[in-house]
């Protein structure tokens, strides 16, 4: 015997609430790192949950996990980023960084900030790759699937980006 409409809705609402609690902050920070604008990041996360809610309704039996949400967020961020244009994004990102970074005298933390800023200066697709693997801590296979590539290619790409970052880092020292 199937569930009533109200029961379905109740069930979906519970799932949505769990996802918002579990994934909301992660997705928001991930979107912020991609877009470097809090309003845009908020919009993206909102849109992601709207789609999640819709999908629950459309495919009740399907298991929509964190990976699904990350995939949607990543696509939305790339679309949004393209709309803004990379240059504009860079400017906003840099000014946001100034506002976000708290004062810090600790050299180790200072190094973290420099690495962070180097990652933030990467092109959107490269940044996305780094964020999925090193911030969202996804297994390579899952990150590759979200990026629409193979695990081997992803490994090579990560290695290249790390080398580039290292070079930039050394130049800045």
């Amino acid at each position: 015997m199937g569930m009533t409409n109200d029961a379905w809705r109740q069930d979906n609402e519970t799932k949505l609430r769990q996802m918002v609690e579990q994934m909301g902050p992660r997705l928001y920070r991930f979107a912020w790192a991609m877009l470097t604008n809090k309003e845009a990041a908020d919009d993206v996360v909102q849109e992601c949950f709207v789609r999640y809610w819709r999908q629950l309704d459309k495919e009740p039996g399907r298991n929509l996990g964190p990976g699904w949400l990350l995939r949607v967020t990543a696509r939305l961020c790339l679309d949004e980023g393209r709309r803004w244009g990379r240059r504009q994004e860079t400017l906003e990102r840099l000014s946001s960084l100034g506002r976000t970074n708290a004062p810090c005298d600790d050299p180790a933390v200072g190094a973290d900030q420099e690495i962070f800023s180097l990652v933030m200066q990467l092109k959107p697709k490269d940044r996305l790759t780094m964020l999925l693997v090193y911030y969202q801590d996804l297994p390579l296979a899952e990150a590759a699937s979200i990026l629409g590539t193979t695990e081997t290619f992803l490994k090579t790409k990560l290695s290249r980006i790390r080398k580039r970052l290292k070079k930039e880092w050394e130049r800045g020292q």
């Binding site: 949505l16 918002v20 920070r29 800045g172």
Partner: protein, 487 residues
């Protein structure tokens, strides 16, 4: 770079970003556009879609036409190496102090195109003081020093400049604080080609008095005599671009000077401001610093005093609270802050550069500091702060450059020597850098390496020191105008 370093950096920085209210995500996700309404929406008649599409097109066109008039300024991006200093500061006629003004170079690294590039920000002091004592005999009768006066073509039209035909006119212009009058002291040859301040040197932006048809009858056909000891102006540099050569030249003419008190100065940064819509605009920021004296404290007020583009409400709000910087006591070393905009995008974080003047007689010493911390005000630079680049010129107490005893080695060979060096053992040698031979010493200390590049230029000895050999070399290369591709 290790993956765990990146992981740590990302988590440390991103995990502290505040997250908006989650309930709003819930509410909006389940809000009016719920599944039933969407279902009805999907079954809408085709004409509704067509009508809405047409409205969207018309609306889009309207918005497109409106967007041209909107200029949303996002922030400055500093360009190239064109940072310039403006010294059009007050002519303090009533002061009668035994002090003259120290021109200094502030080599630092500017992030342009997201890649650090070396640049020079000069600071030349202006104010009142006695004219500097010249190292060589002045001229003919020993009662005159040779001074140069040039007029900026951008500040004054040629007809106006041509009116400057006598000493009293010049004195009047200086008294009126005309920023386009350049006046410097000189002794002997400035450049190998002669002592003429050529148009080529200032890229045609300045005329010398000789070019104006006013030739003074002292020793040098292109020079103007000025009675030594007269309390008068020293240097004023216009706010136009000045090349490193010109600044080195200015610095050299004033190398043997002493500064006794804080004096007003201003910095001019040329920045490229990129609006959300429309073309980028070149803007000029004038950050002025005026002396502050209260009770037993001395310091500077600094504030952004001019920007043609960026005087947005935010900026004006900030500007209502000029920053106060208190100089430490004793006044042996004063750290003068160079106020950079909040969003100065060097290495992606706030950048603070401090200038340290050591008031040793006959020389000067400028240090640049980099810090990741926000500077709190009033500011006193911590004594433990390590400069990341220091330029020293004038009477150096270190060993003078000895004649070369063996051929200079290449930079690559020198680097190899440094790499194989042991702790506390300095590696010093003559190194060929471009067309110049430089004396470079590097010492690996427990706290890190210190590289010093020593060179002479136009008879003066310079030292550029930094924990980074690359920084020291790039600053040196720029001062010497060496085109060195691989440092």
């Amino acid at each position: 770079m290790k993956p765990e370093d990146i992981q740590q950096a990302l988590h440390r920085n991103l995990d502290r970003i505040p997250v908006p209210d989650r309930e709003s995500w819930m509410a909006r996700a389940m809000g009016p556009a719920d599944s039933r309404q969407r279902g009805r929406w999907n079954n809408r008649p085709r004409w509704v879609g067509l009508a809405l599409t047409s409205a969207a097109v018309v609306g889009g066109l309207w918005l497109g036409s409106q967007s041209h008039s909107q200029t949303h300024i996002m922030g400055p991006r500093f360009i190239g190496t064109a940072s310039v200093v403006n010294l059009a500061m007050p002519y303090l006629t009533q002061h009668n102090v035994d002090a003259i003004h120290v021109p200094t170079f502030l080599p630092f690294t500017v992030a342009t195109s997201l890649k650090p590039r070396p640049a020079m920000v000069p600071i030349v002091r202006a104010g009142t003081g006695t004219l500097p004592k010249l190292l060589s005999s002045p001229s003919l009768d020993g009662r005159h020093a040779i001074y140069w006066i040039a007029i900026s073509s951008q500040g004054a039209s040629l007809p106006l400049a041509e009116q400057i035909s006598n000493q009293s006119t010049i004195a009047r212009l200086i008294a009126e604080q005309k920023p386009w009058v350049v006046m410097v002291a000189s002794h002997g040859k400035l450049f190998d080609g002669g002592t003429n301040l050529k148009q080529g040197l200032f890229r045609g932006r300045y005329w010398t008095a000789a070019d104006l048809g006013w030739i003074n009858q002292v020793s040098n056909a292109q020079a103007i005599s000025w009675a030594q000891g007269t309390v008068t102006y020293t240097i004023v540099v216009t706010d136009q671009s000045v090349t490193s050569d010109e600044l080195v030249w200015l610095a050299r003419t004033m190398a043997s000077t002493t500064l006794h008190r804080p004096e007003a100065f201003a910095l001019v940064y040329r920045s490229l401001v990129e609006p959300r819509h429309g073309k980028a605009q070149l803007d000029t920021w004038v950050v002025s610093a005026t002396p502050y004296h209260a009770e037993d404290k001395m310091g500077y007020h600094t504030h952004l005093s001019e920007s043609h583009v960026l005087l947005t409400p935010d900026m004006l709000k900030r500007d209502h609270h000029p920053l106060l910087v208190v100089l430490p006591k004793p006044k042996i070393t004063a750290r003068i802050p160079v106020l950079l905009p909040d969003d100065w995008p060097i290495f992606g974080s706030r950048f603070y550069a401090g200038v340290s003047y050591q008031f040793n007689p006959g020389g000067y010493h400028v240090s640049w500091f980099k810090t990741m911390a926000t500077v709190s005000l009033p500011y006193n630079a911590p004594p433990s702060a390590e400069p990341f680049l220091t330029v020293t010129a004038g009477d150096l107490v270190t060993t003078m450059l000895a004649p070369t005893t063996h051929p200079a080695i290449s930079l690559a060979s020198y680097r190899d020597l440094v790499q194989s060096s042991t702790l506390n053992t300095p590696i010093a040698d003559w190194v060929q850098l471009g067309s110049k031979t430089l004396w470079i010493s590097t010492q690996l200390l427990a706290t890190g390496p210190v590289a010093t590049v020593e060179f002479s230029y136009q008879g003066s000895l310079y030292q550029v020191a930094s924990p980074s050999l690359w920084h020291a070399l790039s600053a040196t290369a720029q001062m010497l105008r060496l085109d060195v591709k691989n440092l």
